[in-house]
Amino acid sequence: MAQTDTLPENWLNDYGDLLYRYALIRVRSEATAEDLVQETLLAGLQSFDRFSSQSTVRTWLVGILKHKIIDYFRKNRHEITTLNDDETAEDILAYQFDQQGNWKINLIEWGTPEKNMHDEQFWVAFNDCLSRLPQRMADILLLRTVDGLETEECCALLGFETDNQLWVTLSRTRVKLRLCLETNWFSKE
């Protein structure tokens, strides 16, 4: 007997919000996110015979969406090879380090991951900080860490000529994200 979660007519209601949130964080456009959800569900319907009951429909649909997101980035390559001021993060580095490269600030204690990640408000702050990153920095970080795209392909998609350029940018992206989290979440009480 079919499980209810495998009934395609329920997918939109059951997983529409999840897929939409997932897409929206990545593309930052409601219209594009909606298109991606639609394409995902269509692709799901068309290849449902290949769905293996070893995974859940949810995981399977998210997997399809991930491919759609990567395709989206492939079609909309960011052809910028020079970083803009916002992406060099020089201002933050100058705020954190002195001329000799030593820390000028103290990092506050963050507590355990468990304590934070079970707090719904943490995720609000986390998403907020992601959305405040310059678009390309967020794209790079998420393509690499969430989608697990290989370094080589990340470089090609984002217009980096060397792996090192990508790594430097990733480091600066993390610097920015960390500082935002510290300010917007961990400094609060």
């Binding site: 919000d17 949130r21 319907l45 990640m117 480091s171 994200l177």
Partner: protein, 84 residues
């Protein structure tokens, strides 16, 4: 000897590629004497963990009803065409 500013860049790079053993040793030695860089590394690890699980967590944002209707209509169309 690496400066703190270089250590934090290496910390991120270490998540992307395998660094030579002597670089990793130098980083470990630095962490022993520099609590701030150690804390930075721990915080990056926590961010990495959060990025890995963030999509499983609910944030208040839903597919708008209008969009839901548009998608439902489209799915219905495709279904009908397939049945013809």
């Amino acid at each position: 000897m690496y400066k703190c500013k270089e250590i934090i860049e290496l910390t991120s790079k270490n998540m992307e590629t395998s660094l030579p053993w002597y670089t990793r040793m130098e980083m470990q030695a630095h962490f022993l004497i520099c609590k701030t860089c150690l804390r930075y590394a721990q915080q990056l690890a926590m961010m990495q963990k959060a990025l890995g699980v963030m999509h499983g967590h609910t944030v208040s944002c839903q597919l708008p009803e209008a969009a839901k209707h548009r998608i439902a209509k489209k799915l219905q169309q495709v279904k009908e065409n397939a049945e013809k």
